[in-house]
Symmetry: C2
Subunit: 155 residues, 2 copies
């Protein structure tokens, strides 16, 4: 079975391709747990105290939204067995806060498909990732470039 | 004590100001724990299996590095009591992988200080954040804009 693989290559994608991910539910507990580790500010830590804070309520750290979106993308396996490796991000935005009880889903759109100029075994895809809540409101948008193998190249 | 606050305002910062954060140690355990939640790919999950993977070793998810850097920035309190609220990111890069045993520290540099055109109570600062390992190698670089209150404005 060792050679049975669904490792997708640059050639398998076309500008305009879109992939929908599954969903993830955001809980108060997960907001507080993430923030305790990575973004310990009062509006991410304590529902009651957050009322007097900048956001006026408990909201998820933007970095949690980024992490949850990455999880949705990995689980969606839109690259098949090919690893999802980011080369860089050219924009990240959080147009609305993520709240306890939100259910998020994301769409990945392929903006550009380009072979590497220097390495014939590699290429890259520019992607736009949009994460929305159940009301369809965008809570996160990222434009980033991911590394891709070329078809038939030595791994 | 209620009015004793060290909430810094836009006017307290100047282009070129630099702030050093503390340090954070990255462990194999923390890499695997973060990845299990947010980026479950083999090169973030299993030291042995990672040897045959893209990176050839266990490396931290780039989103963990982002989260750890946010934690360093929050703990450094370079805004005093003013909340650290990101308006958006215009670039993110991970020039080198973060490895188990790495100790990271970050520098925040103020690139631009600008009042809001529409809201006299607000402004924004463009910042460049650079995270390095103990060898001084850059593992993460982010250019982002953060929200700032103006001095004397009603909160």
């Amino acid at each position: 079975m060792g050679d049975v693989s669904d490792a997708r290559n640059l050639e398998d994608f076309t500008v305009g391709d879109r992939f929908e991910t599954g969903t993830v539910a955001v809980t108060e507990q997960s907001i507080v747990a993430f923030a305790s580790d990575h973004d310990p500010q009062i509006f991410h830590l304590d529902e009651a105290a957050a009322k007097d804070s900048f956001f006026g309520r408990l909201v998820a750290s933007g970095w949690q939204t980024a992490g949850l979106t990455m999880r949705l993308m990995v689980d969606a396996r839109f690259l098949g067995d090919t690893p999802l490796v980011g080369l860089g991000v050219e924009s990240l935005a959080w147009p609305r806060p993520v709240l306890p009880g939100d259910v998020l889903t994301a769409t990945v759109e392929i903006l550009e498909v380009r072979p590497s100029r220097s390495n014939p075994a590699r290429g890259a895809m520019r992607t736009k990732v949009t994460t929305v809540n159940k009301a369809g409101e965008t809570v996160y948008q990222m434009t980033s470039t991911i590394l891709m193998p070329r078809r038939g190249a030595q791994r």
